[in-house]
Amino acid sequence: MKRYVATRIVTMFGVLMITLLITVALVGSNMDTILTQGIVFQVRSEITEDPTIAESFSSVNEFEIFVQNQIDHRIKILGLDEPWYSPQRIGLTMYKILLLDFGRATFLTSDAGSSDVKDIIFEKLPRTILLFTTATIIISIIGIFLGALSASKIGSIIDRITSSFAIISSSFPVWWIGMLMIFLFAFTWQIFPARATPDIPSSDPGYIGALLYHMTLPLITIVMIGFGSWAYLVRNFMVGIMQEDFIMAKKTIGISQKKIVYSHALKNAAAPIITILALSLSGSLGGAIITEAVFDWPGMGRLYFEAITVMDLPVIIGSTYILTVFFLVSIFIADLLYGYFDPRVRTGQ
């Protein structure tokens, strides 16, 4: 077991580093250009603010050289004279990121006004977790019961409806259903707000209520699209287990079908179900980008989307890092849980 956990941790850390490296590589050159431009701008504006500097030079040439020297000096201090792919710079960048030091955002700010990427991310993260965790929990509860129900009555109307609903709902993109829901419930019948961002400041005591009210429409949409495929998955696991010998034995002993389904079969299906639960929790964070963009939910997904639109690189790097960490941690937990529930996995390797 220890060895199993250890290899998992090592792999995870490796993946995290590779993800970071790829992200930094993809945005690195752009980042340098933006930083250099920032320095040039800074130096020029400092000189225009202080007329005595400009007056102390006799010729334009001399002045330009001075400005250039200032710029070069600052570039050197920040280490920008070396290309972004030089080992020291990459090492430093990655070390900083590991310690959650993402630097300052170029354009975006948090609601509280801070431009520190860490502040921005930790302000948005709880909202994404609130929406998507709630949704996933509701989905899994409905899914497990519906799945178990249809597995116990294979071929019944409930089973058929569940299966066909699962198949149909899985081919609709969530964000499109989101657009339709906004169209129907925010504009045609004005029940819910169209934008999921509450319009009162977060310090207001009614903020949480407003947030929950604004959360309803996205929540309904995600649950509506999600539970069908869950039920279908659970059903298929259960159908597989119901054909196992030990279930047959229980049936011949005379234990009631209901008890077999809900206590014996469901327990055996727990391993894959919990794994999928963990995976879909993390998967929902990635999927959050589009869903939050549609509903304008003020979470990580929308932050990521906004950062991409204005090319706010520190925010992009920070969000990718946090998303990856969440993703990896949940894969890790899923792996551990699977090993716990199904001991064959541990001993197999």
């Binding site: 993946v15 993109p173 169209f183 054909q243 991409i308 993703f327």
Partner: protein, 455 residues
């Protein structure tokens, strides 16, 4: 996993209703794509983002068939391009007359009317525009002389119903109408009953007469547009584009993206997994670690970063989707090949000294083919929705009218808030239908490949 012959698969497949439904939808989609590629000239699709090309179309018009369900008929957009041409010359004066006949059967006034023409002439001919209404009244609309030119010239112009001279001419004829014309626009007067300001149904004839003295003048191009609120099978969007064309072109594009990505990633995954499983030991270990790494990358954030930093071309995107698509299949293929490897005939083949590549290709891969087909079918919808999702975020290839791109435009122009359902519904429905076809096929195959699910 027992081996199933292709014959059996075919038989089983044809027995499943779901499989047949899937194949039928797919056939319809393929037929649509072929018809689109053949029937709609390629230019329309290249002109998708060129506003010049869509100028004579209406803005945000509903589909025409909506009228079928409405008691109050919405005026349809009419583009009349083939007028009745009469030429007449008396002495030095020659007259060219273009007549556009149209039947107006709607309960609302049109949005506007536009006469678009180009004329070849010398000097300065006189252009007169008038309309003969169903009640026989002839309204003078405009009488203007074209800009003077001493040599032969070609002049193009658009006359809009909002033209102030048209309004002035109409108010000069205000005795025909019993109500006050001051607040009304020209089209509301021209198409109105005389007693009340309601639309008058029947046949209208728009007359355009061009008089020229001493020289032959010609109207080369002549087009009358009655701006309506309904157009085409699928309506139009804010940029006046005919949505039917976008939706039709979206079909081959979606099928292309889905099938190429699914086929390539399944092939890659299959080869990778089978090789790892067959080789075993160190090779297997390292290959599976690499697989784990790719598996653990967050796909959507990466696709977004890649499309922003590298390129958003549709072909590059297809490549990126492949890179992330093969991982899961490789895992399953590996475990399957681990099982097949232990069978007697594989051992026998390797004992006989057959090359590894031959054993993999001849003895192991064919066993996995049913599974491969099922996975291809199941991966297609995922590829299509991912591409649509990226396009929806505005990161797609803007030069191709994919369904996601149309939905992105709809979202940018606030289609949901404005109730433009014909802009939002059809692209999503198309995505869903295409996905559904492949999910149906995939599920039908899956049941055959994994007999456990059958009960």
């Amino acid at each position: 996993m027992s081996s199933i012959s292709p014959q059996e698969i075919k038989q089983e497949f044809l027995k499943s209703k779901m499989g047949i439904a899937g194949i039928t939808i797919l056939a319809i989609l393929v037929a649509t794509s072929i018809i689109t590629i053949i029937a709609i000239p390629l230019e329309t699709f290249q002109q998708w983002n060129n506003p010049e090309n869509w100028i004579s179309y209406p803005k945000v018009a509903t589909p025409v068939w909506v009228n079928f369900f409405m008691t109050e008929k919405i005026p349809e957009h009419m583009i009349l391009e083939s007028p009745n041409i009469e030429t007449n010359s008396q002495g030095t004066i020659s007259l060219t007359s273009h007549q556009f006949g149209l039947i107006f059967e709607y309960d609302d006034f049109p949005n506007d009317f536009i006469y678009e023409f180009s004329a070849e002439y010398q000097d300065s001919p006189l252009l007169q525009m008038s309309v003969i209404r169903p009640d026989g009244i002839k309204l003078e609309l405009l009488s203007t002389s074209l800009p003077f030119s001493s040599s032969k010239t070609i002049h193009s112009e658009r006359i809009f119903s909002t033209d102030s001279t048209i309004k002035k001419n109409l108010s000069l004829q205000s005795e025909i109408f019993t109500f006050d014309l001051n607040e009304l626009s020209s089209e509301d007067i021209v198409f109105s009953k005389t007693k009340t300001n309601e639309s008058l149904k029947g046949k209208y004839i728009f007359l355009i007469d061009m008089y020229s003295v001493n020289s032959q003048a010609q109207i080369i191009e002549s087009k009358l547009i009655i701006g309506g609120k309904a157009f085409g099978l699928m309506g139009t969007d804010e940029l006046r584009r005919d949505l039917a064309i976008g939706l039709l072109w979206g079909t081959p594009l979606a099928l292309f993206i889905g099938l190429v990505v699914a086929f390539a990633s399944v092939t890659m995954g299959l080869l990778y997994g089978v090789y790892a499983g067959f080789k075993g030991k160190k090779t297997d270990e390292t290959m599976m670690r690499f697989n784990d790494v790719i598996y653990a990358l967050p796909v959507l954030p990466f696709l977004i970063i890649l499309s922003v930093t590298i390129s958003n071309s549709i072909f590059v995107m297809v490549g990126f989707l492949m890179v992330f698509g093969w991982v899961g299949i490789a895992k399953v293929a590996r475990s399957m090949s681990l099982q097949i490897k232990t069978r007697g005939y594989v051992d026998a083949a390797s004992m006989m000294g057959q090359k590894d590549s031959k054993i993999i290709l001849k003895h192991i891969l064919p066993q996995l083919l049913p599974y491969a087909f099922a996975s291809i079918a199941i991966s297609v919808p995922a590829a299509i929705t991912t591409e649509a999702g990226l396009s929806f975020l505005g990161l797609g290839d803007p030069s191709f009218p994919t369904w996601g791109q149309i939905l992105y435009d709809a979202n940018t122009f606030g289609a949901a808030a404005r109730g433009l359902w014909w802009w939002i519904m059809p692209p999503g429905v198309m995505i869903a239908i295409t996905g559904l076809a492949f999910v149906f096929i995939g599920n039908a195959l899956d049941v055959i490949v994994n007999p456990k699910l059958k009960r």
